[in-house]
Symmetry: C2
Subunit: 158 residues, 2 copies
């Protein structure tokens, strides 16, 4: 695999938040149960998303998470980068602060890394695809949402 489950799970969480996209925050427990993923682990991923400013949170009772911005303005490039860190197809390739692509093996100016061409292309195509895909594009049609039962509004006291 090229992306870890951090991305896989994290994207699912974002989609879930977008699906219920309202003002009311959604508790992680709901999402964890709905997706069948371990809550404690999701908390780590969600922390990254929050620190990246993609979601915000409300603590305490009736707390939870909600999208910080509109789903259509959030790209998968932001989400994946928040979860995985910088996107690099191979270890020797990284993007310099100025945006250019650097090769760790090009220590000397003389020595040109021939394989850099390949990994630069690969990286560009991945980033482009991630940037072109917004969170909104992954949210299923509204009629599909209605098929999934929403949690009970108020549980009856026993």
């Amino acid at each position: 695999m090229m992306f870890s489950t951090k991305s896989e799970y994290g994207v699912r969480v974002m989609v879930e938040l977008a699906r219920r996209g309202g003002e009311e925050p959604v508790p992680l427990t709901e999402i964890a149960e709905h997706e069948g993923l371990p809550l404690a682990y999701l908390e780590h991923l969600v922390a990254r998303l929050r620190r990246a400013g993609l979601i915000d949170s409300r603590r305490g009772a009736h707390g939870g998470y909600r999208l910080a911005r509109d789903a259509s303005s959030i790209t998968m490039a932001e989400v994946v980068e928040a979860l995985e860190g910088a996107i690099a197809p191979v270890e020797c390739i990284s993007s310099a602060p100025d945006g250019s692509t650097r090769c760790a093996r090009e220590t000397e100016a003389e020595h040109v890394c021939t394989t850099k061409i390949l990994w630069t292309r690969v990286r560009a195509s991945i980033v482009q695809t991630l940037e072109q895909t917004t969170l909104a594009a992954l949210v299923p049609a509204p009629d599909l949402i209605q098929l999934v039962p929403l949690p009970p509004e108020k549980p009856v006291a026993a």
Copy 2:
């Protein structure tokens, strides 16, 4: 990193073989020394490349490896797939034998995996880029490529 050093090193080996691209096989010791990579480890990678039919070998004295085909007909998709196995951006996505993309989490016909759209796109862009880049495109010396007709290489939009 998304590709391991298997790809990084393996592609370097292939480029080296293409660079010296003649009938005479090149011993792995030369390449290992030239690239500054451990010989014993390269032997493993090279075995994969050979089993995939990308290179062939001659044993014994004056033995070594050479490209099984012309550099212009070898795509990076073949090389990377031989080294890494099937190309999948996340674990839950794999390509079925019929070519369609399968999602491990779509166990029930009911449950549609929304994130599948994303990973399918990402995978497609990676594979496309790897397929568009031939080994010949990574060989620095132009006079060596002239031995064979120029590849029908489409320039990749930056």
